[in-house]
């Protein structure tokens, strides 16, 4: 995972479901990720499926990735070379799937970002700059332990390199009063 990424925004609203990201009717293409990825975001913006370029960014509102657990949702975005998904919030399973497969996520206020804007995002320091409109926004970067997984390209390469779930530091022991 590079610390700073730069790319052009594709703009989506709230509640983009995994059915929007990769529709169930392409179920039979799941064995062929390149063919599947040609339909990425098709039901949210057919133009994206046709003309998204490597390095582009997805910018959305609340609850991005809600719905089914299909991991093909982050995978088709990775296959299309999407640099990161920037959204106000993510659905739980999508969030975990994206980290697991190495797709960077940014939780950030996305108001005022328009389609086609050029963004520069510092994933480590939590700065999003809109180069087109000239504003900057702070966000809470992912915690270092999840960035460690992204840094290895996902949880499978992480485990192969480190031998286990070493990135997780389990909470131990509680002393609660009252």
């Amino acid at each position: 995972m590079r610390g700073v990424i730069r790319g052009r925004a594709w703009r989506f609203g709230d509640g983009i479901t995994t059915d929007h990201i990769i529709p169930g009717r392409y179920y039979h293409l799941r064995d062929d990720i390149r063919a599947l990825a040609r339909h990425a975001m098709e039901d949210a913006d057919p133009d994206f499926a046709r003309s998204a370029r490597p390095g582009d960014l997805i910018v959305a509102g609340k609850n991005f990735g809600q719905g089914s657990s299909r991991e093909y949702a982050p995978l088709v975005l990775l296959e299309r070379g999407i640099g990161a998904v920037v959204a106000e919030s993510f659905a739980r399973i999508f969030f975990r799937n994206a980290i697991n497969v190495g797709l960077p996520l940014v939780i950030c206020d996305t108001e005022g970002i328009e389609a086609g804007d050029e963004l520069e995002i510092d994933l480590e320091w939590g700065k999003a700059r809109n180069l087109t409109r000239g504003f900057e926004r702070d966000f809470n970067p992912l915690p270092p332990w999840l960035r460690a997984v992204l840094g290895e390209g996902g949880v499978v390469p992480y485990i192969l390199k480190h031998g286990g779930l070493g990135f997780v530091r389990p909470t131990r022991g509680h002393e609660k009063g009252g």
Binding site: G15, T17, D19, H20, P23, G24, R25, Y27, H28, L29, R30, D31, D43, K62, N63, Q66, G67, S68, S69, R70, E71, Y72, S89, A91, R92, I93, R96, N97, N100, V101, G154, V155, V156, I159, L160, G164, L165, V168, R169, P170, T171, G173, H174, K176
Partner: protein, 431 residues
């Protein structure tokens, strides 16, 4: 020290030490689940992790597109059969039923930790298991390591009060599906993200396992990590009926458990509910939907394909005919449900009414086969999602409702309040 929620209790039991909401934990997992839509990737990742054998029992299901509707999917199933034969994998063949239903009938038990590559894995929370939907890679990691990491969720406690005939049950014509849709309307489709929903109160205590599974099934539609019910006498009855009483043990949250939020919902005056497209939290009362014409009605799925649901639908459809403008599809959730429905004569009622009974499985809910919608068509379904394209066509519309509302609407050809159909047909629908 404060008491524990069900989620905290199960994870503490499994770890042998006290954990609380917000903790990060690595927990041994009892069962993993995948189906032919998510298993191929899980198998690929499992192989990449280089382990010889899965470290945890693996349940593999052919339910989403089964029997295979096209050659690509037949080949996927063929490869998975070979994998299952080689490793210790419990393969559930075509016709066995929907993974979540079969999980409840044959595998899940109170206190277990279950990871499934399907978002509705939370259904098993009805039995007092901590059952979490994840992606294929998380299932592969769990297969390889026998454990996975979790953040112990905060819990939203939901107490449901009824008002039916025994003052605990639901009012006539109102089902657990109506209750859970109402809750999702209140919470919003991301109102419980990362949280556990814990269902209780008199109406849940009086509810059988079929109803509790409907509640827990739809927890994820509010964004929740899982849904949970206490393990009690109803759980014991269900497990006994399935020949598995040995795995029963009682499990309840502590009375002084700390909840992030408590919600008390009185459903004694609740009308039947309908979710309008295109999102699960656009919940209205059936009155506002009455008169909307439908082309297809689906009764089934992991939300509402159980015996309770089929009995209720059959009570409305008995001696009636499906409207000529409607296709009625009925898909029992499992072989067990199918056999019992056949024995009780329910399937005959559906067929005589003009419906088509599909093999046990997910049916048209996945949008792959057995009832894909045409352009501009409208379906009323008992499933859990109404997103655009869910049933195979983004130009079609999906409304969600209970099996009672679905059956009544199949008769009239438009969305219809089922309560008038149930009058004079015995009381309520709590049986």
């Amino acid at each position: 020290m404060a008491g524990q929620t069900l989620a905290e209790k199960i994870l503490s039991l499994r770890l042998g030490r006290t954990v609380e909401a917000g903790d990060l934990v690595v927990v041994p997992v009892d069962l993993v689940l995948a189906h032919e839509g998510t298993a191929p990737l899980a198998v690929e990742r499992f192989r990449a992790l280089g382990k010889r054998e899965p470290s945890v029992p693996v349940l593999l299901f052919f339910d989403h597109a089964a029997p295979a509707p096209r050659r690509e999917l037949a080949d996927v199933q063929r490869a998975l059969r070979a994998f299952a034969a080689r490793y210790r994998v419990h393969l559930h063949e075509v016709g066995t039923g929907i993974c979540h239903q079969v999980m409840a009938e044959r595998w899940a038990a109170p206190g277990q930790v279950i990871v499934g590559a399907d978002s509705h894995t939370c259904t098993a929370g009805a039995l007092g298991a901590f059952a979490i939907g994840m992606g294929s890679t998380d299932v592969a990691v769990t297969m390889a390591l026998g454990e996975n990491w979790f953040r112990v969720p905060e819990t939203i406690r939901i107490d449901i009060r009824g008002g039916g005939k025994d003052s605990d049950g639901l009012p006539p014509g109102v089902t657990p599906k109506d209750v859970v849709m109402r809750l999702i309307g209140l919470l919003g489709d991301d109102g419980a993200t990362y949280k556990a929903l814990e269902f209780g109160g008199p109406a849940v205590e009086a509810m059988d396992m079929d109803g509790r599974m409907t509640l827990c099934n739809m927890a994820v539609e509010a964004g929740a990590k899982t849904g949970l019910c206490a393990s009690d006498g109803m759980t014991w009855s269900f497990l006994t009926e399935m020949g598995r009483e040995a795995v029963f043990f009682p499990l309840a949250p502590d009375s002084d458990a700390e909840y992030e939020r408590r919600l008390e919902v009185d459903v004694s005056d609740l009308p039947p509910q309908v979710a309008f497209p295109p999102s699960v939290d656009r919940i209205r009362s059936v009155e506002e939907a009455e008169g909307i014409r439908v082309d297809q009605v689906l009764i089934g799925t992991c939300t509402n394909g159980r015996l309770f649901d089929l009995r209720l639908a059959a009570r409305i459809l008995a001696g009636r005919k499906v409207h000529p403008g409607v296709r009625l599809l009925v898909a029992p959730a499992s072989r067990e449900v199918y056999l019992r429905a056949a024995r009780e004569g329910l399937l005959e009622i559906f067929v005589r009414a003009g419906g088509a009974v599909l093999p046990p499985g997910c049916g048209p809910c996945v949008g792959v086969h057995l009832g894909v919608l045409g352009e501009g068509e409208r379906c009323l379904s008992t499933q859990n999602r109404n997103f655009p394209g869910r049933m195979g066509n983004p130009e079609a519309e999906i409304y969600l409702a209970s099996p009672a509302t679905a059956a009544a609407s199949a008769v009239t050809g438009e969305i219809t309040d089922p309560r008038e159909f149930l009058r004079g047909k015995g009381e309520g629908c709590e049986e």
